[in-house]
């Protein structure tokens, strides 16, 4: 075990997860690959969604990978930051919308 939980170099080893469970690993990568193919959404749109989700999941590997992917696709800094804000807005909205639950409870207990 390294002396830190996250090592950027570990991203290169992602493919190796198949070594300890080939069938499931391959199924995952086949699925993953299929998801990011051009479909009703463009690969560019999917890349931006992935970047936003990478942030809400706070996955350093995913942020690393999809920032680079965005640059490769010619996605601008501003577009990437807007996508991150979409993720942030949903994340904070998800927190705040629970405020309704709190209000409901207050109203029930003390209304």
């Amino acid at each position: 075990m390294a002396d830190q939980y996250y090592d950027p170099k570990d991203l290169r080893k992602f493919g190796k997860i198949t070594e300890w469970s080939e069938e499931l690993g391959n199924k995952f990568f086949d699925y993953y690959g299929a998801v990011f193919q051009e479909g009703e959404l463009t690969q560019r749109e999917k890349s931006l969604i992935a970047l936003a989700v990478a942030h809400t999941e706070q996955c350093p590997y995913c942020i690393d990978a999809y920032t680079k992917d965005g640059l490769q696709r010619g996605i601008t800094n501003k577009e990437m930051m807007e996508a991150v804000h979409v993720g942030a807005a949903i994340k904070s909205g998800a927190t705040l919308v629970h405020g309704v639950m709190m209000m409901n409870k207050v109203n029930k207990l003390d209304g």
């Binding site: 290169r12 463009t42 680079k68 640059l71 490769q72 696709r73 601008t76």
Partner: protein, 351 residues
């Protein structure tokens, strides 16, 4: 941001080809990653051999009005390596007799060679099917004496291939220098006015995209679509094709990779994206590169690394196409740059 002098001028050790080759052969390629030779042996593609000669690429000098961050030539205003008229005459003799269908002039800014126009005039008479000049666009706006270049290109039916790293000002200027974007846009508009790049026009105008940092180019067709849409919407500019070119880890780009601590990751990316299909049609298999002083190379990159052709014919004065085609291509780890993903060449992707 933005260099103003070449590595050579500043005395950077990476200006020396042998120093670059030393870096490319040691470090991660000692124990972690396979050398390019080893990699192509796995797919029975070693030694790499030429197919048919299709392109003669002539580098008429390393002088340039720009000092782009990632230039593999380490070109700039301070570079004094310029092809003489005597060497050009030797090139013309070869151009008149070659089996190649494409003549490709590059630099530096080829237009800065004092014999450039005379050379183009003579070369255009040789009847080569596709005559390319790699123009950086800003040269057209750099000085009054270059203002008529679009007309000159048109007169000689030159195929203009120009670098354009991005359709936004910020990314373009970061890589190529302040003001480059606006001048490039103006130059493209002038070329469009002459018919260059218009749909159905025989006056070919292609753009070259290379990434502005330590990442690989995206899909060439999608990039072309994005470039066309943005340049049309923002500036009414049209062009024919976009060539997506991978930055090779040599000269100023190698210096940048090392200084920004991206070198290892970048080399991993290149090796991981290795595509044997791209090896099949990699540029060195159909091109001969000629340096400003008349020496012969497998490609412009080998020229910068001072790796001459592995043939008894070394110089334009001894040129013999049949003997030259019977050679093993000289390779090193920089070659991974041309075989990553869809491949990369001066004509864009290859696979």
């Amino acid at each position: 941001m933005g260099a103003t002098k070449s590595l050579k001028k500043t005395g950077n050790e990476l200006a020396q080809a042998n120093k670059q080759l030393e870096i490319l052969s040691n470090g991660i390629f000692k124990d972690e990653l396979p050398t390019f030779a080893k990699k192509i042996k796995e797919t029975n593609q070693f030694p790499l051999r030429p197919r048919k000669l299709e392109i003669l690429q002539i580098n008429v000098g390393y002088m340039c009005n720009q000092v782009c961050d990632h230039c593999h030539v380490d070109a700039g205003p301070d570079r004094k390596e310029i092809m003489t008229w005597e060497t050009m005459e030797e090139c013309l003799e070869v151009i008149r007799n070659t089996g190649a269908h494409t003549l490709d002039l590059t630099g530096g800014a080829p237009e800065m060679n004092p014999h450039f126009r005379r050379f183009v005039e003579e070369a255009s008479k040789a009847g080569i099917k596709d005559f390319i000049v790699r123009s950086n666009l800003t040269i057209i706006r750099a000085n009054k004496k270059y203002y008529d270049l679009p007309d000159f290109f048109k007169k000689h039916n030159v195929h203009v291939v120009s670098s354009m790293p991005h359709w936004t000002r910020g990314k373009t200027d970061k890589q190529r220098g302040d003001g480059v974007f606006d001048k490039s846009i103006k130059a493209l508009q002038e070329l469009n006015e002459r018919g260059y790049g218009m749909p159905d026009s025989d006056l070919r105008l292609d753009l070259v995209y290379n990434p502005s940092g330590a990442f690989l180019p995206g899909d060439q067709a999608s990039m072309e679509k994005d470039f066309k849409k943005a340049l049309m919407e923002d500036f009414g500019i049209q062009f024919h094709n976009l060539f997506a070119i991978t930055n090779l880890p040599i000269a100023r780009f190698l210096d940048y990779l090392i200084a920004s601590e991206n070198y290892e990751d970048y080399m991993y990316q290149l090796v991981e994206a290795y595509n044997p299909m791209a090896v099949e049609s990699v540029m060195c298999t159909n091109t001969i590169s000629i340096s400003w002083d008349g020496y012969l190379f497998d490609c412009d990159f080998n020229q910068m690394l001072q790796l001459p052709v592995n043939s008894k014919i070394k110089h334009i004065s001894q040129y013999n196409e049949d003997i030259l085609l019977d050679r093993d291509i000289v390779i090193s780890q920089h070659c991974y740059g041309c075989t990553a993903g869809a491949g990369s060449s001066c004509q864009g992707t290859v696979a």
